[in-house]
Symmetry: C2
Subunit: 506 residues, 2 copies
């Protein structure tokens, strides 16, 4: 009896020790998040040299704390114990991070970090001067370093699979690939049909110029309307909108261009979706995986659900257009239907991912996925990228980039050394449809709620089924718990087929 008690108390103590260790790591990481927000949003331009050093110190201290022998010993001790579900989840998550970070030599991490720091300006100039050759050696180096990185983590695995797991650790690559292939196979003909449609879809509802200050006021209206918790967040502008923070302080940034009011509204709703997920993580889990969001596909599902299923719906524009008209009386003559149509135009001749509509977006992703996968596997040489890229655009979207600047040089991700990141964008959209359908299945459809500007029920469902769990479940388990099914593209394809079929008279 007494022995058993001793063992229990030792396990509890060991767990507490692990928890206090990871809380420190988490605090260091969130401090870094504040410094990065500051850098993007408010830091004066000459602050960079000191900021870079501060961030580098925080990141190396976090790495040292995580990869210390003590962490490994605590994990091992706990893995031989019977733990409660939540504790077991924490141990699972820390183990995964520990194994990855300890398997990569620090020199390689530093070499990658240095190479990407230099890659950024090289890419930027290559893009500006439309000179792929200037970026090619850097890209080759980055591909090689990422292959090395993957080999350290798992020498027997497909290196792309290892890299993908950096951003989406629990969804296996085969599933992801199957989903992306289905998107390609079913969206290409749908977009072709739209291209041939003679339906008269409104395109000019948001033509005109719109003052920044008024756009900002409207962005605040958007967030008010969606019940963003201002006591735990704030809105600012940044050149590349993002959201960041913790459940206590989840911030949104957006940007304004005077001729793109619609873009600022949808971008604000998108970032709201991210921040709203963060705000919904449980307070008591702060500092442990139980209070951290699941990985990129789940995060993106939250932003896309609000952006697309809510923000690009007919009832949303019935609700929101009167609010927008108060800021912009010039919208007086725009009907909700016209706004809805403008928000859902399909641009089959657009070359730029970040300007893509809800449908063609996924072909932009599929192309990047196919190209980067072949690059990492060695099936594709860096020098062949521009041509393969352009061929794929021609094949899937019927449009061929005339320059690499608007082709394979357009995105920043590879210059960041991020390979395996792109797919999570599409997987997030697909998951958004699955979760939205599950919520409607539980609660009935939300049309009337959205039309009335009432989002509490929908958000309550997301809080209950997604947000509050943090990293308690793996991604596939979370999807199953929330929707009752394994991850599937069915709901997304059904949603777009119905929505765009109706809109374009298909």
């Amino acid at each position: 009896m007494s022995t058993e008690q001793d063992t229990q108390s030792t396990a509890a103590e060991t767990y507490t020790e692990l928890e206090s260790r990871i809380r420190r790591i988490s605090n260091i990481s969130h401090a870094g998040g504040v410094l990065r927000w500051d850098q993007e949003v408010v830091m004066p331009e000459d602050g960079t040299p000191a900021r870079a050093q501060q961030l580098s110190t925080l990141s190396s201290i976090g790495h040292e704390l995580l990869t210390a022998d003590e962490t490994g010993e605590l994990l091992e001790a706990l893995e031989s114990e019977e733990l409660e579900d939540e504790q077991a989840a924490v141990v699972r998550e820390v183990r995964r991070r520990y194994d990855r970070e300890t398997s990569v030599p620090q020199e390689l991490v530093e070499e990658i970090s240095e190479t990407t720091a230099n890659a950024h300006p090289t890419w930027k100039e290559a893009k500006e001067t439309d000179d792929f050759e200037a970026f090619a050696p850097t890209l080759e180096k980055l591909v090689e370093l990422n292959r090395e990185y993957a080999a350290h983590i798992d020498p027997d695995a497909d290196p792309y699979e290892v890299l993908f797991a950096e951003y989406e650790p629990y969804l296996d690559l085969e599933t992801a690939e199957r989903v992306l292939e289905r998107l390609r196979d079913e969206l290409v003909p749908l977009i072709d049909a739209i291209d041939e449609s003679e339906a008269d879809v409104e395109t000019d509802a948001f033509a005109g110029t719109f003052e920044d200050d008024d756009q900002e006021a409207l962005a605040r209206d958007v967030l008010d309307s969606l019940n963003y918790d201002w006591d735990r967040g704030r809105l600012d502008t940044a050149p590349h909108p993002f959201s960041t923070g913790t459940q206590f302080d989840a911030r949104v940034t957006t940007r304004f261009e005077e001729d793109d009011l619609l873009g600022s509204i949808t971008s604000t709703i998108h970032e709201f979706g991210h921040a709203n997920y963060t705000q919904g993580l449980p307070d008591e889990g702060y500092g442990t995986p139980l209070g951290e969001s699941r990985d990129l596909s789940v995060h993106e599902s939250q932003s896309r659900l609000w952006e697309n299923h809510v923000g690009r719906s007919r009832p949303f524009w019935e609700h929101f257009l009167p609010i927008a008209r108060e800021r912009f009386p010039s919208l007086e003559d725009v009907s909700p239907e016209a706004a809805y149509e403008a928000a859902n135009q399909v641009y089959d001749d657009n070359l730029i991912r970040v300007e893509a509509d809800e449908l063609t977006y996924h072909l932009h992703i599929v192309i990047r996925f196919e190209v980067e996968r072949a690059l990492i596997s060695g099936d594709l040489e860096v020098s062949e990228v521009p041509e393969v890229w352009n061929d794929k655009y021609e094949e899937y979207l019927g449009v061929r980039p005339e320059t690499d600047a608007e082709g394979c040089l357009q995105d920043i991700h590879w210059s960041h050394g991020s390979f395996g990141y792109f797919p999570t964008y599409s997987l997030g959209s697909v998951l958004a449809a699955q979760l939205y359908a599950a919520a409607e299945d539980d609660l009935g459809d939300f049309e009337d709620d959205v039309r009335a500007g009432e989002f509490a029920e929908l958000n309550g469902w997301l809080r209950e089924n997604v947000h509050r769990h943090g990293c308690r479940y793996t991604t596939p388990d979370l999807i199953k718990e929330a929707s009752g099914e394994a991850f599937t593209a069915d709901y997304f394809l059904e949603y777009v087929t119905e929505k765009y079929g109706e809109l374009y008279d298909l």
Copy 2:
């Protein structure tokens, strides 16, 4: 020969190791500075629980890095070497911090930190309800903990001396005391004479109400006018104005009250003085004491020099009033002389330190110094504080507080556990006068420059003689290097006697 080379290269390596260690500590500390700025200026109100944890983790990691055995070993190794002056200065500064932090047990540090965290709301409520009794037990506890703290650092020293050295490590307490006694002995009769003067000093130049937005625009004009480097700083508002940062990013905050335009201008100039010092620290010293500012008296000398010697001078108002009139046309009828007089009124019946003028301010400080010194030495019981406080106000300023809220409960410092801090405010003003006189001695008086809004020469002198040195010299050595003399109150007393003698026809 080869042995000597080996020794040299070892010393160089040891120094590099120490330097890399303190750079990390410095980065952690500056990261904490960014988090605190964020908390005061932009953080949403519910962000506190997570922020408190983040700051506590950063502070304990900084403490662990500094007090680690490795730091002590590196210091010892370097102290037996012949070092270059700059390296020796770095070793001196790190040694001082190391000795202090290693001598205080971590439990005591945590107890103080916890007690002060709880003391703050207790003090706040006691002040709001004018209930000294409610704060007394907390104050007793804080006095006791601070005595314990001092005893750990030096059991043989006067505990107040040890506490004072926390804020002003190199100016000995005897010097400080002598200066404060001189201020008391010479300012009391001067203020009495002003009180009896029948001179007609303008008081209403800035009467009226002034919109916040316009005040903010004018605060930016102030900073523009003083050549604040916006690429390395920014201006925001905060409830209690402060400045913070590094040479790469030194930020100013200020606040606006619609009936106190003059207060916002002088407070902005004051904070400019602090930030301008920080901006003048050498870039290459970032992360080491060579790139850090000297202690509180020197910092305060920089804010007071700009606030008082520049911002409360006649030529400054000749320069600045036309700028202020552009923001506030209602100032059209105010003359520079009237503005100058309004900025230099002496309020001998004011009870509140932060509202005091340039002269009576020091009696507020002297009273706090005498009270806290007696508290720490044990000559004064906490229960006697209100009466002693009020008696001293009556004796030095001829005015007796009717409540403790406007008496001994007015300041936040003791609730922070800060004893020994107050004197640095007066020492800073005294040093400002000494430095300003030395600059004028070198370059001729600045009247014409200030009248023309040209501050480059004065600031150049400060950069050359104060800012660029960081912590290379101890405070007394820095004062001597810059002014050619030891620290003295002569210049301050000469300055106020002449200025106020002229203003009040004495």
